[in-house]
């Protein structure tokens, strides 16, 4: 029966169930495989195809080569497409929310730069004053009062890195320094800001100038 089905398969006259039956039978029978090969060769010969007398089982060689390289059996270029897992898309934020979020990050960036400048000022001030600064004494604390001109992105911090005010708050703290120290500190900060410009750090300079506007240090007597 299998051989008759094999003949029918050659003519495309098998049902899918019969095709499966033939494949199962041919898988068990090398003789049936050889019979299929001869049927095909016979048809080819009558159609004018040259038939080489097989020195070996060519088809078996091909199948053995496929078995030897199972990892390469599937071409990654032709992997069947599967529906891509759809990750939940974030709901687009309204422009105002995006802007607010952006501003929030800008505040942190400004905070980082301002903290570093304040640290430099505090250390320098300590040296200039040549006396220890009591961290709990507001009188000895150099306050960077970045004149933000109302810029809400500027956050002012003290030497301990604590946020003392934001620019949108109206209060501007005054440093309790003597005139000479306040003047030196102001000069130092200006020099510090200009240093990157001389070093050719144009981008850093611009950013530094934005987040740290010219410092204004008020002396204890009220003059800069």
């Amino acid at each position: 029966m299998s051989e008759e089905l094999l003949s029918a398969l050659l003519d495309g006259e098998c049902t899918p169930a019969e095709v499966e039956e033939v494949l199962a039978a041919i898988d068990r029978s090398p003789a049936l495989k050889a019979r299929w090969s001869r049927m095909c060769a016979s048809r080819d010969a009558r159609a004018g195809v040259s038939i080489a007398k097989p020195a070996f089982d060519f088809a078996a060689g091909v199948m053995a080569a496929l078995d030897e390289a199972p990892a390469e059996a599937v071409n990654p270029k032709v992997v069947p497409l599967r529906p891509r897992a759809v990750a939940p898309q974030p709901v687009p934020l309204p422009a105002a929310a995006v802007s607010a979020r952006s501003l929030r990050w800008q505040r942190f960036a400004g905070l980082a730069v301002a903290a570093s400048i304040t640290g430099v000022v505090a250390i320098s001030g300590r040296n200039l004053l040549d006396r220890p600064i009591a961290s709990d004494s507001a009188a000895t604390l150099a306050q960077v009062t970045a004149d933000a001109g109302g810029n809400p992105d500027i956050v002012k911090v003290n030497a301990n890195g604590e946020i003392v005010s934001t620019a949108d708050q109206d209060a501007v703290l005054s440093a309790q320094l003597d005139d000479e120290t306040a003047s030196k500190l102001t000069g130092y900060i200006i020099e510090h800001i200009n240093l990157p410009a001389r070093a050719g750090m144009g981008g850093a300079l611009g950013y530094t100038r934005i987040v740290a506007q010219p410092g204004s240090y008020a002396s204890a007597s009220g003059s800069n």
Partner: protein, 190 residues
């Protein structure tokens, strides 16, 4: 139904990873592919290139859309593989491009066989002759069935109508005719 239906069924199974189905296709087309690539690379390298062609076909099978006949698709792979083989050997591929239309006609034209070895030509001619002799000696009902199928290309249903018999009888008669043919082809191929 027609032989392309066979290919379609086997291709669908092979695309799902059924190597048995692919082996059926390999056995069906091995001679055509070997002959095709031998035209480009010569007989010495033809078996290797043909094997490479069929391995590539297996790897690319899932991408086969069925827009053309399976053999036409296989034919293209064979041509490309043979040309790549020539380039890798530092040889220039032949300017004689084989038109894709040849894929359907391949084997039917005399000029395509001009590089066949005398041995393969001899075997092909011998098979053709023996098969003709066997068919001529078949009982009339078997002969009519196999001729209508092989030479006229009728489907089983059309043959049944022409011979006024059930399709199952047609199938049986064609099978018996092929058994008789195989009896003479087998010694030649062994």
């Amino acid at each position: 139904m027609n032989p392309d239906i066979t290919d379609e069924e086997l291709v669908v199974l092979a695309q799902s990873g059924d190597k048995r189905a692919f082996e059926m296709l390999v056995r069906k087309y091995q001679h055509k592919i070997v002959q095709l690539v031998s035209r480009l690379v010569g007989d010495g390298d033809a078996p290797d290139v043909a094997q490479e062609t069929l391995i590539k076909a297996w790897r690319a099978l899932k991408g086969f859309q069925g827009n053309s006949a399976f053999y036409t698709w296989l034919y293209r792979i064979g041509i490309n593989t043979a040309k790549n083989h020539l380039v890798s050997r530092g040889r220039r591929p032949s300017n004689q491009d084989i038109d894709i239309a040849d894929a359907e006609q391949f084997g039917h034209t005399e000029h395509l066989s001009d590089v066949d070895t005398p041995e393969s030509l001899l075997l092909s001619d011998e098979i053709k002759q023996k098969v003709g002799e066997v068919i001529a000696k078949l009982p009339p009902d078997l002969r009519q069935a196999i001729v209508l199928r092989e030479l006229e290309g009728l489907s089983y249903e059309e043959i049944a109508e022409a011979m006024d018999c059930p399709i199952g009888t047609v199938r049986s008669r064609i099978f018996r005719a092929r058994e008789a043919i195989d009896a003479v082809v087998n010694p030649l191929m062994s």
